[in-house]
C-alpha cells in the first residue's frame, strides 16, 4: 500500500507545482491595469478619436459628413490655438460640439492639447504645403458680384443649382463626375458659417473629390483649368455664397467664426 502511494504523491506534487507555476500564464489571468496611452501618441489619439470624433469626421478622419481631419494641409495650416478653441468650445451655432469645459464630463485642457498634438503627429503630412491663402478672412471688401462670375466659371460645373436632387444622388453624366451638389441652397447657407465656406474652398475635400484652392477647376463648358484662386477670389466666393442666407436674423450669426 505504502509503496504504491509514493508515485501518487509525487504526481500530485508535480501537478500542484505545475498549477502554481502556470497559474500566472493562464489566459484568464486579468492583465494588470495598464496605463492608458497618452493622447499625444498615435494609439491613444486614435482610441480617443474613435470614441468622440469618428461619428461625424469619419472613420480614420475621412469620408465623414464633417470636415476630414486626416488632411495634412488643413492640420498644418490651422494654428494650434484655433484648433484648441474649436475642440474645447465647439463652434456655436453649428454642429461641432465642444468637448472641454468645466463640466464633470468635460475633457481637460491638457488632454485637448495632447489630442491636437496626437492628431498632427498621426495625420499631418510633414511635407504638407502651407496654403498661400490665409485660412481666416482678410480685411478686404469682397464683392458678391465678382463671386458670382467666378462661381459660374469655376464652381458651377460641379455645383449646379438643385433643379432636382437626382442630379446629385443619381447617375452622373459625362466623363467628369459632377458630384458637388447645390451650395447655393439658402438652407445650407444658413447652416454654415462664412468660415466653413472659406475653409471648404481653401482646403477642398479630396476624399469627396472636391479640389482645394489650387484646383483643378472646371469651366462652365467642362474644360479643366489648373490655377490657384487668390485671396480676393476666395473672399468674393464666400461673399457670394453667404449672400444666399436670406433670413436677416441669421445672417450675422457666424461672422468672425472659426473654421
Amino acid at each position: 500500500m505504502i509503496a504504491r502511494a509514493v508515485p501518487w504523491r509525487r504526481l500530485l506534487l508535480a501537478c500542484l507545482a505545475c498549477l502554481s507555476v502556470s497559474c500566472d500564464r493562464l489566459p484568464g489571468k486579468p492583465a494588470p491595469p495598464a496605463a492608458t496611452p497618452g493622447l499625444d501618441v498615435s494609439t491613444g489619439f486614435r482610441a480617443f478619436y474613435a470614441e468622440r470624433c469618428a461619428g461625424c469626421h469619419g472613420d480614420e478622419g475621412r469620408y465623414g459628413p464633417a470636415r476630414p481631419l486626416n488632411a495634412g494641409i488643413y492640420l498644418a495650416s490651422i494654428p494650434e490655438d484655433a484648433l484648441f478653441t474649436i475642440v474645447r468650445d465647439g463652434i456655436p451655432g453649428t454642429r461641432m460640439p465642444g468637448f472641454g469645459g468645466s463640466s464633470v464630463t468635460g475633457v481637460s485642457d491638457e488632454q485637448i492639447r495632447a489630442f491636437i498634438l496626437g492628431m498632427k503627429r498621426t495625420w499631418a503630412n510633414p511635407t504638407g504645403l502651407q496654403s498661400i491663402v490665409p485660412w481666416q478672412a482678410g480685411l478686404s471688401e469682397a464683392s458678391a458680384e465678382h463671386g458670382a462670375t467666378l462661381f459660374a466659371s469655376r464652381c458651377e460645373f460641379c455645383h449646379p443649382r438643385a433643379g432636382n436632387q437626382t442630379q446629385v444622388a443619381g447617375a452622373q453624366q459625362g466623363a467628369v463626375p459632377r458630384l458637388g451638389g447645390d451650395v447655393r441652397d439658402p438652407f445650407y447657407a444658413r447652416l454654415v458659417s462664412d468660415q466653413h465656406l472659406r475653409t471648404s474652398i481653401i482646403f477642398g475635400r479630396d476624399d469627396l473629390h472636391m479640389p482645394s484652392v489650387r484646383g483643378p477647376f472646371f469651366t462652365a463648358n467642362g474644360e479643366r483649368v489648373v490655377e490657384e484662386l487668390s485671396v480676393g477670389e476666395v473672399d468674393a466666393l464666400v461673399a457670394y455664397l453667404a449672400s444666399f442666407r436670406q433670413a436677416s436674423t441669421l445672417s450675422g450669426r457666424f461672422e468672425g467664426g472659426t473654421p
Binding site: 460640439p97 463640466s103 464633470v104 464630463t105
Partner: protein, 178 residues
C-alpha cells in the same frame, strides 16, 4: 415517573406542587419572553433603524447661483450629506442643474424615474436618455418616451446668501412624488 404518581393522588401537597409547576412554567415563559425582547430590541433595532430614521433638514450648497449660465443644464457633483468617509466613491453623488434664467433653476436627480439608472444629458438634442431601458426626458424633465411612469425627480432648491442650495440626501423614488 414519581412526579406523575403524586399528581394522580389528589392530596393537598399534590395540588400545591401542580400550582407551583404551573407558576414556574408561566414565570419561565414570561421571563424568557421579556429577556428575548430585551435582547432582540437592540439587535433588530440596530439592523433596521438606519433605514427608518426620520429625514433631517439637509439643505446643501452647490455653489454661487451666479455660476450657472442661463439656458444650460450641467451635471453637478456633491457629497451625500449623510455620508461617511467609509462610503468611498459612493459618498459622491450628482444632480443636473438646469438654469432656466438667472435665479431660476430646476434641479434633477440623475436617477431615471423608471428604475433609478443614471440618465445622461445631451445638450445637443436637449434630452436626457437612460441607458437601461431607454427612458427619454425633455430638458424640463418631463417624460418624452420609454417606460418611465413620470418625469425626472426634482430636488427642491432655494437661493440662500447667493448660493444655490438643494434639499437632498435621499435616493429619490416613486413614492416621494415631487
Amino acid at each position: 415517573m414519581s412526579e406523575r404518581d403524586t399528581v394522580s393522588d389528589a392530596t393537598p401537597s399534590a395540588t400545591a406542587s401542580e400550582s407551583r409547576r404551573g407558576f414556574l412554567f408561566a414565570a419561565g415563559t414570561t421571563l424568557t419572553a421579556i429577556g428575548g425582547v430585551l435582547v432582540a430590541a437592540p439587535i433588530i433595532g440596530a439592523a433596521v433603524a438606519p433605514g427608518l430614521l426620520p429625514e433631517k433638514d439637509k439643505w446643501l450648497s452647490l455653489g454661487a447661483s451666479s455660476n450657472w449660465t442661463p439656458g444650460t443644464t450641467v451635471l453637478v457633483k456633491f457629497l451625500n450629506p449623510g455620508g461617511a468617509p467609509d462610503d468611498g466613491v459612493t459618498r459622491e453623488n450628482a444632480c443636473y442643474v438646469r438654469c432656466i434664467e438667472a435665479g431660476k433653476f430646476q434641479v434633477f436627480a440623475v436617477n431615471c424615474a423608471h428604475l433609478g439608472c443614471p440618465v445622461e444629458w445631451f445638450a445637443q438634442s436637449r434630452l436626457f436618455m437612460c441607458p437601461c431601458h431607454g427612458g427619454v426626458y425633455y430638458e424640463d424633465g418631463s417624460r418624452a418616451s420609454g417606460p418611465p411612469p413620470r418625469g425626472l425627480f426634482e430636488f427642491a432648491w432655494r437661493i440662500q446668501d447667493g448660493a444655490l442650495e438643494i434639499f437632498s440626501g435621499r435616493l429619490p423614488g416613486l413614492q416621494e412624488g415631487t
